[in-house]
Structures are given as C-alpha cells and as structure tokens.
C-alpha cells in the first residue's frame, strides 16, 4: 500500500477553443519526492501547472491536494493549503526589493510580529543575502529565478511546482539552484515537481519522471527508464526532425 | 522604502513655497479712502473665455469693451468729475470651480467695484458667493430664474430672465398665428437638459397653458446629442403645429438639419433663450437651412436709436457681424452700471464707490431714457430688491434671407415675420 499521495490528478482536460492543451492527464505525486515533468515545447506542461494551481479552470477532471478537491479553486486558497509555484516566464515584482518580495510570500503564514524573522530565514536559505535591498527590476534573470523560488518557499509550501527554474542559467548557477532544491527537499520535506528542459537538472534531481506530449502522458518512470523509452525519444527527436 | 518616503517632503515644502511665492501679489489697500477718489473706476469682465462656453464669453467681453470705450468717450462718470472706467478681464473657465477661482482672482488682483458676467448660470451663482462675500456688485448676464432667487444682495440682472424668454416665444407664435388667421393649438416643447433649458421650458409651458394650447410633446435631451432624428420623428408623430425649442448651440444646428433632412418641418419652429438658431455662427454653419428660424433674444440689435446704431456699427467693424445676445446684454449692462455710478455719485458724494452705497443707487435706478434704455429690450429700467427688472422684454429675431431680423414685439418689429414657414411639410 503506497502512502497517501500529496497530489492526485485524474482525467484533467483543458481546451482553448479547438485546441486541446491538456488531454485526460492523470498523475500521482508521493509526498517528499522530487518528480520531473518533461516534454517537448507545446506539450502542455505549463497549462497543466496553470490548471493545477488555479490559474486556469480545467474543462474536465479533478485535482486532489492532500485529499482535498482543489479543482477550480482560487490560487491563493490553494496556496494557503500548501502549494505554490514559480513561472516559466519570470513574473517579478519589479518595484519591490528582494526582501519585500519574500515578505509578500511570508505573509501567507505569518503575522506582522514574526514576519521579519521569517524573511531573514528564507533569504539566508536561498542565499540572497547580498541582494536583499536591491529592486527586482534591477536583477539578472538568474537572480530573478532565485527570488521567485524564495518567495514561493516563504509561503511554506508542502508541494512546490517549478516551471523551468533552470532555464537560461549557467552551469555554476544551476549547481547552486540544485543544491538549494535538494536542501529544500531533504531538510524541509517539501515535495517538488519540476518542469524542466535542462536534462542535467532533471536527471540529477528527480526520482521519477513524467513525460507529456501533445497534452497527454506518454511515459512515466525512473530517469533511467525514461531515457531508454522509445516513445520519449521519438517525441523529442520527431519534433526536432520536423523543425 | 523605509523612512525615505518622508524625506522628499522637504521638496514638497520647497515646491509649496515656490508655488505660493508665485501667487502672492502685492496687496493693494482694501478700500479706497472715503473722500479721495481713485484715478479710475475698475470694473471687471469675468466671462468663460476658454472651454465649451468660450463662444459666448468672447462675444460678451467684446460687448463690454465697446461699452467701456463709449462710456469713457462720452465723458466718464460725470457726477464723479468725469472719472473714467478701467476694464479688467479674466477667464472664468468652463465650470463652477474655475468660475469661483476666476472671481477670486480678478477681485484679489484688481479690486473692481463691479463685475459683469458670467453668462452661464451655474458659473454665475458659484462666482456670486465670492462677490457677495467681497461685496462686489455683480451685473449678471445669466438668465436662469434662480440666479436672482438665492438671496444675493449685490447681484443685479438687467436682462429678461429665462422664463420670460419661454413665455415670449409662445406669445410670439400665438400673436402671429392670430394675425395670419391660423388655428395653432398643438405645441411641442423641447429643451436641452440644463437649468437654463428647463427654466425656459417652464416659462413656455406656463404660457402655452395660459393661452389654452395643448402640449402634445415635451422632451428634455442632453445638449451633446448626436442624433436628433428620433426626436424629430416623434414630434412629427405627435402632429404638433409648432415647436418651441430651447437649444444650446450644437444641437440647434443638428435639429435644424434634421428637420430639413427628414422632411418633417412643422409649421413653425421658434427658439427660446437666445443661443441657437439665429446666432451668426449658426447661420453660417447652417447656410440656407437657417432660413425662417426664429429665436427670442435679450437684446434688440435692430432697435432704431442712435446709441444702438453706434454700438452695432462699432461692433460690426470690430468683428464683422452684428452683436450677438451676449455682446448686447453686456453692452447695456455696462451702461446700466454707469448710470448707477452716476446716481451713487449724486446720492453719496463722500463715498460713491462703497458697495452698499452703490447697491442703494442700483435699487433707486429708474431709467426711461439715455444710452442704457436706447440699447435695452424694453423701455424702463428699474430693479426689484431681488435684482431683476420685471419690465425687461425678450424680442424675437427671425432669419430672413440669411439675416436675423426683429419681428416681435410688433411695435419694435423691423420687418414682418414670415409666418407660417413656407417650407413646412405639414
């Protein structure tokens, strides 16, 4: 008997007009794991994230988070329940400083009294000490991704969805990020679900990988199983060949 | 963000100081010393020179300017040793707050004895709070009835009020129909939805009922209306004999065009309250469509008196067209003011410019001749304690061959009215 899943998606479907972006997707996430979600461009990964976190209302299917049905629930309520995310295209609060951005996340669970301590803790955890008083609008992309991670971590999620957190990062930056994510998983027990193109990160971090193509799950398994899966190879190479 | 927020308030302070120092004008002594007279008597023209009402304000200002020139050329205020008038002007903007600001500005800068203005009633009442407080005589050219009913002490209005206009318009049609042997019984009353439009319409409605007419259609519409065809169609459907209309300005053009275009021209269309059908600008904009339209007026440009002919000639030389109502009203208003100053000089030789003395002089005025009466619609100028002249009469102008001509009251008529409209379709 496997443990109660932290997130259970069943039959999730999302259409935009005639386009079916996500088609009948069912996925289970076990608590405390790191799961990778991969697939070619346009496979529906971001749409799936949006449907889970309440930015889109799914057309069919259900999302259960810790046993609660959160289908169509507003994002901020889902966040209160313990799930947060980052974005593929960084959505920074450019006029806020790094510290204040983290503060916005920290208000999720803390009142005015403890807030400063929490902010300090998260900033230290995400190694953003040097930048805390800088405005987000002035930061580099790599740092912005880190700040996005930090503000999500500040909400104290049990499940964190990361949408291409590694995109556009250099090797060193990537290593730093992976270290933080690993610590987040190990020390705080946060379940992670990462959408990623950077294979180094997927293979290095994830215990299990789900592959999406054209809105459907085409494979699921350990990194080793996935890299040998002919369907996955076809999905990737096939797409590339067309290009 | 900490703390820094407040730091820039220093700059606020600096700016405030700068802004204020820019405003401060050296203040002149508040009241002229009793026996010693100033070099000239300052009077103000406060009119809407910008914004939606600028068209009227500009005319009014020119009328006042010519009047002051004429008064000074005629020897100034004789009872005050021929003291000359000095005119100062100010823009009153287009709404009540700018009017109030304008009043404050002109009073604090120039300390005028009296102010002429502000054409738009809403602006006039707003500004009159200032003139009351500062005790400056306001000679109003705004026609809404309520201008004089809000208890102002220092406000006088020589011109006929709006309800007198409405009544005159109806009376003119009734007289003309009787003369032409026609039986006009059904009237449609239209007005734009300002207090001015409503005051006019109220006067017209009372007059219509007093004359035993049936009001078959009555509508209030916004002055910025862009399509009059539905109202015109409704008037046609109501089978009105004639239309009494208080338009603002744009809408008069629109309605005239629509009456013609739809082919639903009633037997007569008469405007009330001056603005609209017979203004030179409207006639120009409408071309031949303006023909036969009639309109009540607070001023009679055709009055055959030497003073009036002089004014019309000078005005025409300056602007190229005959004086509009706004110009005429201010011209005779300035002369009325001049007469009041003369009287004050006689009644209170020691302190003629004291506002309370000048007010007494206004209330004592009883004119039946002179330049003021020669340009006045009516032949008697005297004020009630509320500041109105009950003997003021609106005249009716009709566009005949592209020129506005006086057709009513019959004793003042320049030419005979063309009645009913020869192009009427029903």
């Amino acid at each position: 008997m496997p443990p109660e899943p932290i997130l259970q998606i069943s039959g999730l479907t999302k259409r935009f007009g005639n386009l079916i972006a996500v088609n009948d997707v069912s996925v289970r996430l076990e608590p405390g794991t790191i799961v990778g979600l991969i697939g070619p461009n346009g496979a529906g990964k971001t749409t799936l994230f949006n449907a889970i976190t309440g930015l889109h209302t799914p057309d069919a299917g259900r999302v259960l988070f810790k046993g609660t049905d959160i289908t169509g629930m507003l994002s901020h309520k889902i966040c209160k329940l313990g799930m947060s995310r980052t974005f593929q295209v960084v959505k920074a609060f450019s006029i806020l400083t790094v510290e204040d951005t983290v503060r916005v996340g920290a208000y999720n669970r803390h009142g005015e009294k403890e807030i400063q301590a929490k902010v300090d803790e998260v900033i230290a955890f995400c190694e953003l000490e040097d930048f805390r008083r800088q405005k987000c609008g002035d930061l580099s992309l790599a740092l912005l991704r880190r700040v996005e991670l930090a503000r999500a971590v500040a909400t104290e999620p049990e499940l964190l969805l990361l949408d291409e957190a590694g995109a556009g990062l250099t090797g060193t930056e990537l290593d730093g990020l992976m270290a933080i994510l690993t610590r987040l998983n190990r020390e705080k027990g946060v379940t992670l679900c990462v959408v990623e193109h950077v294979m180094k990160m997927v293979m290095g971090l994830c215990q299990r990988i789900v592959v999406l193509d054209a809105g459907e799950v085409i494979a699921e398994g350990t990194p080793a199983e996935i890299s040998d899966n002919p369907k996955v190879i076809e999905a990737y190479l096939g797409k590339r060949a067309v290009r | 963000m900490k703390g820094k927020n407040w730091s820039a308030l220093v700059v606020v302070v600096v700016m405030l100081t700068v802004a204020l120092s820019g405003c401060v004008t050296p203040s002149a002594p508040a009241q002229p010393a009793a026996p010693k007279l100033p070099e000239s008597i300052v009077i103000g023209s406060l009119e809407p020179l910008t914004g939606a009402h600028a068209v009227f304000g500009t005319e009014a200002k020119i009328g006042t300017e010519i009047a002051v020139d004429h008064i000074n050329a005629a020897g100034g205020i004789k009872s005050l040793n021929g003291l000359k008038l000095k005119l100062v002007t100010e823009d009153a903007g287009e709404n009540a707050d700018s009017a109030k600001l304008g009043a404050e500005s002109i009073i604090s800068k120039h300390h005028p004895v009296a102010i002429l203005g502000l054409y738009i009633s809403r602006m006039t009442i707003a500004a009159s709070e200032v003139t009351e407080r500062e005790k400056v005589i306001l000679v109003a050219d705004a026609l809404v009835d309520s201008v004089t009913t809000s208890g102002r002490q220092y406000l006088f209005r020589p011109a006929p009020k709006a309800s007198q206009h409405g009544a005159s318009a109806v009376q003119f049609v009734v007289d003309s129909a009787k003369k032409a042997g026609l039986d006009f019984t059904k009237v449609a009353i239209l007005n734009e939805d300002s207090s001015f439009g409503r005051s006019n319409a109220t006067g017209a409605m009372d007059a219509a009922l007093n004359n035993g007419l049936t009001i078959v259609y009555q509508k209030e519409y916004p002055y910025d209306i862009t399509d009059a065809s539905s109202i015109v169609a409704d008037i046609a459907a109501a089978k009105a004999d004639f239309v009494v209309h208080c338009p603002y300005f744009t809408d008069a053009i629109l309605f005239a065009k629509t009456f013609r275009e739809t082919g639903n021209i009633p037997k007569f269309i008469v405007g009330m309250g001056a603005s609209g059908y017979t203004d030179p600008e409207s006639i120009q904009a409408l071309g031949e469509t303006a023909e036969y339209y009639a309109n009540t007026f607070s001023y009679n440009p055709a009055k055959k008196t030497p003073q009036n002919e002089k004014f019309v000639a000078d005005f025409k030389a300056k602007t190229g067209h005959i004086p509009t109502e706004a110009a005429g009203m201010n011209y005779y208003a300035a002369w009325v003011l001049k007469e009041a100053l003369e009287l004050s000089g006689q009644m209170f030789p020691t302190d003629p410019l004291n506002p309370d003395n000048l007010r007494q002089a206004f209330l004592k005025l009883d004119l039946t001749s002179g330049p003021a009466v020669e340009t006045y619609p009516g032949d008697h100028i005297a004020f009630t304690p509320t500041g109105d002249n009950p003997d003021a009469k609106a005249v009716v102008l009709q566009v005949i061959k592209g020129e506005p001509r006086i057709v009513w009251p019959l004793e003042d008529a320049e030419v005979e009215a063309i009645f009913p409209r020869p192009d009427a379709t029903r």
């Binding site: 609060f93 | 927020n5 300002s194 916004p222």
Partner: protein
C-alpha cells in the same frame, strides 16, 4: 537606525507640516491665493487616495469624480432634506461612495476585468453616474441644487473665507497620507504592490487579489467620497456635472506622473502640475485661450515618455544629494 538618522528622516515631514499649517498666515489675506492653495491640496488628496488603488494595486482607476460626486450628493442631499451637518455628511458620503465602489468593484474583479478594460469601465462609470443623476430628478436633475447660503456657519460647513476650508482639506490630506503610509507598511500594502506587478504571481503565493483590490478600491472611494462632501460645501451646490470624466482622468495622471505606488509622489505631482496649471490659466488664460492646455499636455507627454517611473524618484535623489552635502554621507537616506 539611530535617533539622529531618524530625526533627519522625519525632518521633511515636520517642516512640511509646519509650512502647510502657516500657509494661511502668509497668504490668508488674499482669498484668491487661498483658494489656489486649497485647490492644490484638494487635488493632492484625490491623487494621494488614488495612489492606493492606482499606484499600489496597479488598477488604473479613472473614476475619481464618480466617488467624489457620490459623496457630494450624499452629503448635499442630507443637508438639503434633513438638515444633516456636512461633518456627518462627510462620513456618510464616504460610506456611500465606498459601498458603491464595493457594488461595482465586486463583479468587476470577480469577472477579471483588468488593465485597459478596467480603466475604460471606470471611465464609463463616471458618465453613467452623470447621466443617471441628470435623469434622477428627486436628487439630481439638470438644475443646480444650492446648499443653504450662510455667510459663516460651522454647522453648515460654510465660511466667509477659504482658511477653514484649507485646514479641512489639509486634514483630509494628512489622513490620506497617513492611510497611505500605514497601508504601504502593512500586509495589504505589500500585497497590493505585488498584485499590481503581476496578479498571477501574487495569487500563487497566497495573495487574495480580488479581496485586496476591493479593499483598496473601497478605501480610496471612502476618502474621495468624504472629500466630495467638502467640495460641495466649498462651491455651495451639487450638480451632476460633478461627475466629470476629464477631471477624473487628471487625477489618475497626477498619480502616474508622481510615481506609481510612492506615498508622496501623487502629492508632489499635484503641487507642481496643478499650481503650474492654475498659474498658466491666470497668466495666459484670457489672452491665449487654450495655450495653457496645450503646454500642460506637452509636459504630461514628456514626463510620461521620459520619466515613466514618475518624478518622485528625481526628488528623492535631489534630497539625498542635499543631505549628503549638508550632513555628510553617513546620515544620507
């Protein structure tokens, strides 16, 4: 932060307050100058209140005079019908405006009307109210309703001079600034700034965007509504022309030019632009008619194009520089 630093930072506030308090002593004799400074402060209140919904929450609200008009009509009608003092009318006017804001804001935010569409629908709201009040003859109608004329009456909030009005508006301004300041330091303020930048990003980290926007809109409407009651007394009448689209847009413009989300920014912009405008009106008005409008527009375009973050940062830099010169780098903010 030590005491000395704190003193330096509070200094501008104190100096500003002192100057604001003694302004009537300097120009109080001249009623025109008094009404000018009152007008400047009045726009300052509106723009400062706007900062909550527009600057912080990033919702480009163009309906300031809708709430102002509601406040004016509430207070004015109460005074005319039941002789309720405008002092109470202020609060009730603010409440009516805030209630109306909730009525309108809830479905707008519920259905996700944002950005340009929010701006347009708020602009439309002003027009809707203007027409509705024109048609509503019992309360509005085309004829101005004059408040009882009194030379001076505290009960009726009518005074023979602008000095009391100046202090009332100054009081409102201080309240608006204080509310702004408190919000900017609170959870609500950080939430508003965050959702103003990106609603999605704020939502997923626990910000209830709808509720926050609604709160911001209601606080703004309350302040503006209360100001409307004073406005009615200042001008002595109520009329549907209070619902003015152009003036509402101007309030938003002051907020944008001042610097979105910066507490003192809109006030700065109001002080500079409104006094500049009135100065131009007074000096160019009657001779060059519309020139001042054109100049105003060009200034607006230039600032918006070349200082899109507003003028407040410039002033902060100038103040920092000044501080570093006067008291040395150490205490500079």
């Amino acid at each position: 932060m030590n005491t000395k630093q704190r003193t330096i930072k509070m200094l501008p506030l104190l100096v500003g307050l002192v100057v604001a308090l003694i302004v009537p002593l300097i120009v109080g004799k001249n009623q025109y100058n008094m009404v000018l400074v009152t007008t400047v402060l009045f726009y300052g209140v509106l723009a400062t209140a706007w900062n909550i919904i527009g600057g912080m929450a990033g919702q480009l609200d163009l309906a300031a005079w809708a709430y102002l008009g509601l406040g004016a009509f509430t207070s004015g009608t109460l005074l005319l019908r039941w002789n309720v003092t405008p002092w109470l009318g202020m609060i009730l006017g603010g409440l009516v405006a805030a209630g109306f804001a909730a009525l309108v804001g809830y479905p707008l935010f519920r259905f996700g009307v944002k950005e340009v569409w929010y701006a347009l629908s708020s602009a439309a709201l002003v027009e809707v109210l203007r027409v509705a009040f024109l048609m509503w003859d019992e309360v509005g109608g085309p004829v101005e309703r004059y408040l009882p004329f009194h030379r001076a009456s505290w009960y009726h909030m009518r005074f023979a001079s602008y000095v009391p009005y100046y202090y009332i508006v100054l009081g409102l301004l201080l309240i608006a600034l204080f509310v702004n300041y408190r919000i900017s330091r609170s959870k609500l303020g950080y939430y508003l700034l965050a959702l103003g930048e990106s609603e999605d990003a704020a939502e997923v980290i626990g910000v209830d965007a709808r509720a926050c926007k609604l709160k911001a809109l209601m606080i703004y409407a309350f302040i503006v509504g209360a100001t409307g009651a004073v406005y009615a007394c200042l001008f002595g009448f109520i009329h549907p022309s209070f619902f003015n689209t152009a003036q509402s847009t101007e309030v938003a413009i002051l907020g944008i030019i001042g610097g979105m989300g910066i507490v003192y920014g809109p006030l700065l912009a109001a002080i500079i632009l409104v006094s500049g405008r009135e100065f131009m009106r007074a000096n160019l008005g009657s001779s060059l008619e519309s020139l001042y409008l054109a100049i105003y527009a060009v200034v607006l375009i230039v600032i918006a194009l070349f200082r899109p973050q507003g003028i407040a940062p410039l002033f902060r830099k100038a103040y920092d520089w000044l501080l570093s010169r006067v008291v040395g780098e150490r205490y500079a903010a």
